[in-house]
Symmetry: C3
Subunit: 263 residues, 3 copies
């Protein structure tokens, strides 16, 4: 049941604490505002525990990780775990370097995660199903539902892999989301922004499977709507239209436009 | 007298050295250019003193502070103080964590500031009047002019609190600025950008009260003008229009559109 | 011969590893995508060697350098050198502080660079011809071809200085590029973005002189085309149009619009 969750975000304005990368941090803050949440970015060891304690969700994104930053993620994550605040991991570039793969696995080992959300290569690598990654971008391949389900069961969390068809599973249920548009790949940060949106939905709904499915459908649908704008003629104009569509998304549009199949 | 200050920025192109956060640093650089200044961002301990010595203003923003970064702020600020270069502090998130509150207070104690500019919660907390903050955003409340005046007198600096009505005081004079538009709250970084614009005005005018009032009126008016654009339909399109309006602002528009009351 | 290089980028999608500044890192990632490359940003000592080994070009930009970051640049650069991967240096702010000048010289000494690309002041300072810089922006002056040629010969690399007329030399050949538009100076990061585009071309063409000339002509032409858009009315709208034009650039447009003179 993803109905009503978007309105709940707008009503509650969940504060989403991000420990994230320097490339897309501004986009993540802006998308959080646009969907109806409240972003805060803080990574200093001295303050992450206090900041996350005031938040409704914690987003951990290793896009430009350092050893010190991963330490801060663990500290913030432990506080979140002890308070029942959902923790969402985006293992950006897992598989591209040993540091990224190992940091993602360390976070998975030391924290109780609510959602792990990556592209098909990142999730495939963490699931032991393999995957090809160039930098931080997946190269082809298709999702392996069986291994995702096992990863979800082993970690007691939602696994969400973005791709042409997005796949989301809690180990039993599997959702396939077909929203989205190729223009979304022409700008950097759509992956990171989607993770922030997952954070917003998880900050407003405790069934993290439903929350994640709603986030993926909302995000992809906004991309479709933006790409259809008459003035969109490339990544610069698409980007502006995309933020507008996230901001203007409604329950009605989502009901009419979502392409979700749950098995 | 805020007339003529905007033209003076365009004529002098003040170099504004920022030590700032990773979320909105790009926006701060772009707004500095758009209003007519020249931005430079540098935070390495080894170079901040040399960089600020070539600048006309120093902006310190603790939005994603670290201990090391605050040390760099103190070093740069001391050089600025010794050279008579204005120092503007944006205590982002003061009140949200002890580290932020204490860092703001340390900067206030160790440096002679020209302007402290924050939202109503941040300024209220530093002024001892209290305030509610979620992450880095003020939650309701209204300004407390008496405590702002005392804070201004105690620190020998301008206190500027942004809100529905902005309040700016040097401890004696009080300016109320009613420019602005709700759309400005739909994008991240408007607070940080306004602080950069204050830096530009202070880099061109040594009466920092006038400079700060001019900055607030200019910034808010550009927001109003941008929100009125026909093509604006959300935060993405608003953002582009807002930068255009800052860039195209003139003394004439400001004279006609400013909503400033000084007591 | 710059013909065909743009298409080659789109065909090969070179992965361009950036170690760059926090101000324009998002713009650099987006421009890399828009021209047809694939960006990756990584600066942790523990992973830069592995990341660059998977890349087709390495871009080093000292816009917000720290000592630790320069160490990471040297490590990544050595791996790139040993594997024959082109290394492009943007010595942002060389001349503005001793740390920047010395870091640029250290990188030039310890690495075999393919291209050094800066503005007229930065290149003039590294070439020993002098130059005036305010923050990270060149102040007037004109290129000194003789000193650029010597710098190119001494370092066995391409020297590229952006200005009203861009000058590119390998020590023998000299290219003058007259593409570009004043609106490009109204947004921050055009210098950094151009360096990323040079990285994309060098990742697709081993004659780095041709690659650099093609990058400058393409970038400047996109700026001209964007500035001519009817909806462009300032830096906000220009920025969107510029990304669109980079994305929509074709061999045909480049052939018709390039203003390149080679001596």
């Amino acid at each position: 049941m993803i109905e009503g969750l978007l309105n709940r975000i707008r009503g509650r304005k969940p504060l989403v604490h991000h420990i994230t990368n320097i490339v897309t941090v501004n986009d993540c803050a802006n998308i959080t505002l646009a969907i109806g949440g409240l972003p805060v970015m803080a990574h200093a060891i001295e303050e992450v525990e206090e900041m996350v304690a005031a938040s409704q969700a914690l987003v951990l994104n290793i896009g430009t990780l350092t050893r010190e930053q991963v330490d801060a993620m663990i500290m913030a994550g432990r506080t979140a775990n002890s308070l029942g605040i959902p923790v969402i991991l985006d293992p950006v570039g897992a598989g591209a370097t040993a540091m990224r793969t190992e940091s993602a696995k360390r976070i998975m080992r030391e924290l109780r995660l609510s959602v792990i959300k990556g592209n098909i290569a990142e999730i495939g690598i963490l699931a032991g199903a393999g995957g090809k990654i160039r930098g931080v971008e997946a190269e082809g391949g298709h999702g392996d539902v069986g291994s995702y389900k096992r990863l979800a069961m082993d970690n007691g969390c939602i696994i969400a892999a973005s791709g042409v068809t997005d796949i989301i599973t809690d180990g039993k249920r599997v959702a396939y989301v077909d929203n989205g548009h190729p223009m979304m790949g022409t700008i950097t940060g759509t992956g990171c922004m989607l993770t922030s949106v997952v954070g917003c939905f998880c900050g407003a709904e405790s069934d993290y499977f439903d929350a994640t499915v709603a986030a993926f459908a909302s995000f992809g649908l906004a991309g479709e709507l933006a790409a259809a704008h008459q003035e969109v003629n490339g990544p610069g104009s698409f980007r502006a239209a995309f933020f507008d569509e996230i901001y203007n998304l409604t329950e009605e549009k989502l009901k009419a436009g979502k392409k979700v199949k749950i098995e």
